[in-house]
C-alpha cells in the first residue's frame, strides 16, 4: 500500500467539495467525510484506544475540521490535514481525558464493537508493541508503515520535519521488532 497521489480530476473534485463545505454545504461535507472516513478512522484506531474511542476521535476530528476549514490552505493533501487534526485531538485527549463528552450515543450503541475480543495473538502483540511507542513515533509508524502515507505526507500531517518523521519510522520499526521478536524482513 504505497502512496497514490490523487490524480488531477480527483483533486479537482476534492477542491470543489472543500470549497462548497467551506461555504457551508452539508452535502459537500458529507461527501468529504465519505471519501476520507476510512483513512482517518484507520489512523485513529492505530493511534490507540478501543474502537469506540477511535471512531469518537475520528468523528470529533471531522466536526472540528468542518468548523476550521478556512485553515486548510491546500499545501498538504486534505487527507494529511485531516489526520493532523486527529493527531492533535489525540494529544489533547491524552492531556485532558475528556473523550466521550460529545459522543454520538445512537451511533455507538448501534455498532458491533466486539471485534477485538477474538483477535489473533499476533495482532494483540502488535497492539501492545504499538502502545509502547511514544505517541509521535506511533503516529509516524501508523501513517507510514501501516498506512499508505509517504514520509512527506506524514510530515505534513504531524507538522514535524521530514527528517524527524523518517527517524520516527525507523526507530518505531526497530522498537516493534524488538518488542515482537524476530528478524526484520
Amino acid at each position: 500500500m504505497r502512496p497514490s497521489p490523487e490524480g488531477g480530476c480527483a483533486n479537482c473534485v476534492e477542491q470543489a467539495l472543500v470549497a462548497s463545505a467551506r461555504a457551508g454545504s452539508t452535502a459537500a461535507f458529507s461527501a468529504l467525510v465519505q471519501r476520507h472516513q476510512q483513512a482517518v478512522r484507520a489512523f485513529a484506531r492505530r493511534l490507540g484506544g478501543d474502537l469506540v474511542e477511535a471512531d469518537d476521535l475520528a468523528q470529533e476530528a471531522f466536526v472540528t475540521a468542518w468548523s476550521h476549514l478556512n485553515r486548510f490552505d491546500g499545501r498538504a493533501s486534505f487527507r494529511a490535514w485531516l489526520c493532523g487534526v486527529v493527531y492533535r485531538k489525540a494529544l489533547t485527549a491524552r492531556r485532558g481525558a475528556i473523550r466521550g463528552m460529545g459522543r454520538d450515543g445512537a451511533y455507538a450503541g448501534s455498532r458491533d464493537w466486539g471485534v477485538r475480543a477474538t483477535e489473533p495473538a499476533a495482532k494483540t502483540a502488535l497492539r501492545r508493541a504499538m502502545s509502547a511507542l511514544p505517541v509521535d513515533q506511533r503516529a509516524a509508524v501508523a501513517l507510514c508503515l501501516a498506512g499508505d502515507f509517504s514520509h512527506a505526507e506524514a510530515a505534513d500531517a504531524l507538522n514535524l520535519p521530514l527528517g524527524t518523521v523518517k527517524s520516527h519510522v525507523n526507530r518505531g520499526r526497530a522498537k516493534l521488532l524488538e518488542l515482537m521478536g524476530g528478524a526484520d524482513v
Binding site: 500500500m1 504505497r2 502512496p3 497521489p5 462548497s20 461555504a23 457551508g24 454545504s25 452539508t26 452535502a27 461535507f29 458529507s30 467525510v33 465519505q34 472516513q37 476510512q38 478512522r41 484507520a42 484506531r45 492505530r46 471512531d55 475520528a58 468523528q59 470529533e60 471531522f62 466536526v63 468542518w66 468548523s67 460529545g102 454520538d104 445512537a106 451511533y107 448501534s110 455498532r111 471485534v115 483477535e119 499476533a122 495482532k123 502488535l126 501508523a142 507510514c144 508503515l145 501501516a146 498506512g147 509517504s150 514520509h151 512527506a152 505526507e153 519510522v169 520499526r173 516493534l176 521488532l177 515482537m180 521478536g181 524476530g182 528478524a183 526484520d184 524482513v185
Partner: protein, 103 residues
C-alpha cells in the same frame, strides 16, 4: 510522495496485521453520525450566538426605550403584520442556506 516503507517486521507483515483495523470504504452510518454531531454542535453555537445577540439588543432597546417610545408608539399595530413576515423570511432563509438546508 514516493518513499516507500517496507512494512515487514519480525517476519510479520504489519500491513496485513493492520489491515484488520481498516474500516469499510463506505460507511453511511458513520457519515450520518458525523453529520448529526456537527449539526448538534452547530445548533448549540447558533442558539448561543442568537441568545447573545438577543440579550444585547434587549439591553440597547432598554437603554434607549424612553427616547424611542413616543416615536414608535403610533406604529405599534404594525407588529402584528411584520412579526409573521419576519418569521416567514427566517424560515425560508433557514431552508435555503447551505448550512441548514436539508441534504
Amino acid at each position: 510522495m514516493s518513499e516507500s516503507e517496507p512494512s515487514g517486521v519480525g517476519g510479520l507483515d504489519l500491513a496485513v496485521l493492520f489491515a484488520e483495523d481498516i474500516p469499510p470504504a463506505h460507511d453511511t452510518e458513520f457519515v450520518a453520525a458525523v453529520v448529526r454531531r456537527a449539526g448538534r454542535q452547530r445548533l448549540a453555537f447558533e442558539l448561543m450566538w442568537s441568545g447573545l445577540v438577543a440579550a444585547l439588543s434587549a439591553l440597547v432597546l432598554w437603554s434607549i426605550g424612553p427616547v424611542l417610545g413616543p416615536v414608535i408608539k403610533p406604529f405599534a399595530g404594525l407588529a402584528a403584520v411584520f412579526a409573521p413576515i419576519g418569521l416567514l423570511v427566517a424560515a425560508v432563509l433557514f431552508m435555503v442556506h447551505p448550512r441548514t438546508a436539508p441534504i
